[in-house]
């Protein structure tokens, strides 16, 4: 019973703070709500028996990306207290886009109910923990096995992105002693 409570708590936390991050006016509060949402998704990963993924979610997203976003929010301090008011066209476009996204997701749900859940009822969910594949060792075996090429590509992508990011920021640095 307590597991069900935790599961629905994680679901509500992820969904509500996700909606809040998209709609709340203050951008700093939106970034903090994004952190709550990431935490809820990490909890859902635990329920999916993806232990390693949950750790990565907390370390990379909460520890890395969220800190970067918060830093950027605080860096441009003039927008901290400023309220973000979308224009009328943006509001209409946003509601249309969100409606389209929801419709696509609902369609996905219907398709899943038709196909996936029937199989799920026949055999039940696969318990990944029984075979140890949700752990770091299981994922590591796969990454250096059949997923070796994507693993290398991801490494190259990260390197290129980080070097490019540093180069972009350096390029626009003002010369020392130059006029602002």
């Amino acid at each position: 019973m307590i597991e069900h409570g935790l599961f629905w708590g994680c679901c509500l936390l992820a969904a509500l703070s996700g909606v809040g991050a998209a709609t709340v006016r203050n951008l700093f509060h939106a970034a903090l709500l994004l952190g709550l949402c990431l935490l809820g998704v990490a909890g859902l990963y635990l329920f999916l028996q993806a232990w390693y993924l949950a750790c990565i979610q907390v370390v990379v997203y909460l520890g890395g990306i969220l800190v970067l976003v918060l830093f950027a929010t605080l860096f441009s301090s003039d927008i901290l207290g400023q309220r973000q008011v979308p224009s009328r066209a943006q509001q209409v476009g946003g509601v249309l886009a969100a409606g389209l996204g929801t419709a696509a997701g609902l369609h996905l749900l219907v398709v899943t109910l038709d196909h996936g859940l029937r199989l799920e009822q026949q055999r039940g969910p696969v318990h990944l923990a029984d075979t140890g594949v949700g752990t770091a060792g299981g994922i590591g075996d796969l990454l250096v096995g059949s997923w070796f090429a994507p693993f290398l590509v991801a490494g190259v992508l990260l390197t290129v992105a980080l070097v490019g990011a540093v180069a972009t920021v350096k390029r626009y640095r003002r010369p020392a002693g130059g006029s602002p």
């Binding site: 597991e3 069900h4 599961f7 679901c11 992820a14 969904a15 996700g18 991050a21 998209a22 951008l27 939106a30 970034a31 990431l38 998704v41 859902l44 993806a50 390693y52 993924l53 990565i56 990379v60 990306i65 970067l68 976003v69 950027a72 929010t73 927008i79 973000q84 943006q90 476009g93 509601v95 886009a97 969100a98 996204g101 929801t102 696509a104 997701g105 996905l108 749900l109 996936g116 859940l117 799920e120 969910p125 696969v126 990944l128 594949v133 949700g134 299981g138 994922i139 796969l142 994507p150 991801a154 992508l157 990260l158 992105a161 490019g164 990011a165 972009t168 920021v169 626009y172 003002r174």
Partner: protein, 108 residues
């Protein structure tokens, strides 16, 4: 909905759908680059959650490919955040503003 019980594929997909719609809403309505970045992060999280959920509930096959796909989504998100924030600082240095409606150029 009879199939919406705890720890079911449908529950995960409902959460992922809500996150996806929120991300689209944020991308379409935010005026600042940081708000759009938050929307993109929501979209990527929705995708990663769906990968992991489908990987778990794939009947009769014990593999971890769904989780590995989620891992790659996280890698892409990290790279994207680094590049977007570098661009953000470049734009902020030239125009002292990150309003996407006003920003027209990267170079001063």
């Amino acid at each position: 909905m009879s199939s919406l019980h705890a720890d079911s594929l449908t529950a995960y997909l409902v959460v992922a759908t809500v996150l996806f719609a929120s991300g689209l809403l944020a991308i379409a309505t935010r005026r600042t680059a940081i708000g759009v970045l938050i929307g993109i992060e929501l979209l990527l999280n929705s995708a990663a959650l769906q990968f992991a959920a489908y990987g778990r509930f794939r009947a009769g096959a014990v593999d971890v490919q769904g989780q590995s796909s989620s891992l790659f989504v996280v890698v892409v998100a990290a790279a994207e955040a680094a590049v977007v924030l570098a661009l953000f600082f470049a734009v902020y240095r030239t125009s002292r503003d990150v309003d996407l409606e006003q920003t027209r150029e990267l170079r001063s």
